[in-house]
């Protein structure tokens, strides 16, 4: 009641003394004059800076619970919010941003799609939501030779290692970073003995490998491994008996699961042979973002996202927002829409940007990965944030997550 009254009053004609568009125009004009020394760097045409979003649609298995579908616009909505936020800021320095969107169907040629986009002039900033091979196809294309690519979908560690590229930045954390975050918490809690259950898909194998590597890095141990293939059976009918067999093994503190597509992991929780927590792709999960995240004004970002997308913000959405925000923030810092200057700043050592994670974020000079805190989540709460207390690094604790400079085989970045 009260709320309705207030809104009416607040938006009643004549009350809103400053009609939005008009005063923005006036302000831009004023700032344009004030920012005269930088004027040569402003986009000469006055056109908004274009950011290209390109996605490969992936066919996924049906979710175990159809209340939790994987949204069709995962990633894209984040990028759209990034554009809105960048425009809200950019207008104060006379900058505008626009998103162009291309979605490539399964089986279609992403490189050809990119070549088609590039006919109108190669895009300078491209947010890529696609598997690793697509990312490489784009970065290696002739049309993309001056383009900065921002990876928001591929968690493959190899893209930050031997398969890195000079103009390829990674906003989404790698599997290594996720595994490191999880294992840090396990070590902190002294739950260091893992029984590892992996699914049959290539991503599951890579996730499991990342867990083994993190275990070695931080002094945890994989005491036994088993495989589980949910294909050909509906796990919802047989979980009680099947998982008891799969998770029988030597003494362990947690059951770690590698099931990236969500084919069985959710049903493993509370169905283990011994009363042990499930961690990994389900149960207690490491992630860049989640709906329980609220500290450091995350609530504000989440609310804005929900208003735009009508659903919760997922990790890939956050990465999409973050990728566009990084380009927008670089432009605003420079007070310039000049793509070459923005590229130089983003690829250089001085660039820092906020991301609602309580710290300044930056790209690692040796492989282009965004340094960032990660969350350890179950659907109801944030259990902890990583880097976990006590894991130290001479540069920044954030570099305890993922490939550190001496470990990365990346040469292309020159850092």
């Amino acid at each position: 009641m009260l709320m309705a009254g207030r809104r009416t009053r607040a938006s009643a004609p004549g009350r809103r003394i400053v009609p939005g568009a008009l005063w923005i125009f006036a302000l831009v004009a004023i700032l344009g004059v004030l920012a005269a020394p930088d004027a040569q760097a402003l986009s000469p045409t006055g056109e908004p800076l274009a950011i290209q979003y390109i996605e490969r649609r992936i066919e996924r298995p049906s979710p175990l619970n159809n209340e939790d579908p994987v949204p069709d616009d995962e990633g894209l909505k984040g990028a759209e919010l990034g554009i809105r936020d960048s425009n809200a800021t950019g207008r104060f320095v006379g900058l505008g941003f626009a998103l162009k969107t291309t979605v490539v169907e399964p089986g279609a040629d992403i490189r050809a799609a990119f070549a088609e986009i590039a006919k109108a002039g190669p895009p300078r900033f491209v947010v890529v939501n696609a598997p690793a091979d697509d990312v490489l196809a784009l970065t290696d294309s002739e049309e993309g030779r001056d383009t900065v690519f921002l990876n928001i979908g591929a968690t493959d560690t190899r893209l930050r290692d031997g398969d890195c590229r000079a103009r390829l930045l990674h906003v989404i954390p790698s599997r290594d970073m996720l595994a490191d975050a999880l294992v840090q918490l396990l070590v902190f809690k002294r739950w260091t003995r893992m029984l590892l259950v992996s699914g049959p898909n290539p991503g599951d194998g890579l996730y499991a490998e990342a867990l083994r590597r993190s275990a070695r890095k931080f002094g945890a141990k994989v005491v036994a491994e088993s495989r589980f293939d949910a294909h050909g059976a509906d796990i919802r009918d047989s979980a009680l008996r099947e998982f008891a067999l799969v998770t029988r093994g030597p003494e362990h503190d947690v059951v770690a699961v590698a099931d990236e597509l969500g084919e069985f992991g959710t049903n493993l929780v509370f169905n283990t042979a011994s009363p042990r927590p499930v961690v990994g792709t389900q149960g207690l999960t490491p992630a860049a973002w989640g709906r329980a995240v609220e500290a450091w004004a995350a609530v504000q970002l989440r609310e804005r996202f929900k208003k735009l997308a009508g659903r919760s913000m997922l990790p890939v959405d956050w990465a999409g927002w973050m990728a566009v925000h990084a380009v927008g923030e670089a432009a605003v810092q420079l007070k310039s829409g000049d793509p070459a200057a923005i590229k130089a700043l983003m690829l250089g050592p001085k660039f820092e940007v906020g991301g609602f994670k309580g710290r300044s974020l930056s790209f690692r000079s040796w492989n282009g990965q965004l340094r960032q805190p990660l969350y350890l989540l179950w659907p109801g709460a944030v259990v902890a944030a990583a880097p976990v207390e006590g894991f130290l690094h001479r540069r920044t604790e954030l570099d305890t997550l993922g490939l550190d400079q001496p470990e990365s085989a990346c040469k292309a970045m020159g850092g």
Binding site: R6, S11, A297, Q300, V332, S360
Partner: protein, 338 residues
């Protein structure tokens, strides 16, 4: 004119006996309550419920009305401080976080964190005078001592927006470092201090030119740089010190307000948000969110002398001006600027 009056009254304040009792009101963000601390004993004398997620807090000049930003209730509540009773709500716009009362005692500038506006409300007629578009997540609010300029800081846009308090139009913007959270005018109105939480700095801006003239950085031995997150700022009336709350580093930085050099760090409770000075300027109180307490600092000795348990997540603090004690009038509040 106003400045001279305030200065005159200030002198009276300083000469008043130090035992003069004040009440300091603290908003408990996660308890939806306000704790009242008595400054003769430095103990909590009472606690009363308010709206959801209370943050910014400020008094009317005569101390008869208490304004609280109840962020999750989307309201600025007006309460009777004596009883804690809700008098009425003010139309506040969505998600009010901080606000600032102009020297006229009735114009309230409210930062609406969720919808990138500053709402201007006449606290007497309870009417919205304007809604002004600013950057994303406006948070810090301050009105210059002469009442001509209001500023708001936008946390994601990373700017200070300058609002002409007469025309209620945004006229300029100054870029600062990441996540500006709090703004505070110097008593003479020539400088604006702005804290950048993620940037880890405090910018001192020349009000006449709206340019940053000094960026103050912090360094605490044994505390990693990214734990140093400046939020609340208090400036002493005599222009000697600036106190800056450094968030999760659990420290208050003491800055020489003339040379802009950090002269001391004082360890307080965990995740310190805001600070408030007593009218005599002899004590500084800090709200410590995570530890749920308030630290009392002896300003003369620059030492923490007491810790007072309050509710969960204390955030803002304000001194209640007593009738006939006008030095505290429009000046003392944290999480509210002035």
């Amino acid at each position: 004119m106003i400045r001279r009056t305030v200065a005159g009254l200030l002198a009276v304040g300083i000469l008043a006996p130090p035992a003069l009792a004040h009440e300091i009101y603290v908003t408990n963000e996660r308890d939806n309550s306000v704790s009242v601390i008595d400054t003769t004993t430095y103990e909590v004398t009472r606690t009363f419920p308010v709206g959801r997620r209370p943050r910014g807090i400020v008094f009317s000049k005569d101390g008869s009305r208490l304004f609280v930003c109840a962020s999750d209730s989307d309201a600025v509540q007006v309460l009777d401080p004596a009883t804690g009773k809700l008098l009425h709500n003010l139309p506040s716009g969505e998600d009010p976080e901080q606000f600032s009362l102009a020297p006229d005692g009735r114009t309230l500038f409210i930062a609406n964190e969720n919808n990138a506006t500053t709402t201007v409300v006449d606290a007497d007629s309870r009417k919205v005078l304007a809604q002004i578009d600013v950057g994303i997540e406006p948070e810090g609010m301050a009105v210059s001592p002469d009442g001509t300029i209001a500023v708001t800081t936008s946390e994601t846009t990373n700017m200070v927006h300058w609002i002409d308090a007469k025309t209620l139009q945004a006229v300029d913007a100054t870029q600062v470092e990441q996540r500006p959270r709090h703004a505070e005018f110097s008593k003479d109105g020539t400088r604006l201090w702005v804290s950048s939480e993620i940037g880890g700095t405090v910018a001192v801006i020349d009000v006449a030119t709206r340019k940053v003239i000094e960026t103050i950085r912090f360094e605490v031995k044994g505390v990693s740089a990214d734990r140093i997150q400046p939020v609340g700022i208090s400036l002493t009336e005599d222009g000697r010190y600036a106190f800056v709350a450094l968030g999760p580093s659990d420290r208050i930085a003491v800055i020489d307000a003339k040379t802009y050099k950090v002269v001391n760090y004082i360890l307080v409770g965990r995740r310190v948000w805001h600070t408030v000075l007593t009218p005599e300027q002899d004590r500084l109180l800090t709200t410590n969110g995570v530890s749920g307490d308030v630290t009392v600092i002896d300003v003369g000795a620059l030492k923490a002398i007491k810790s007072i348990k309050v509710g969960r997540f204390p955030w803002g603090a304000a001194v209640r001006p007593a009738a006939g004690e006008p030095a505290a009038g429009d000046k003392k509040s944290a999480g509210a600027a002035e």
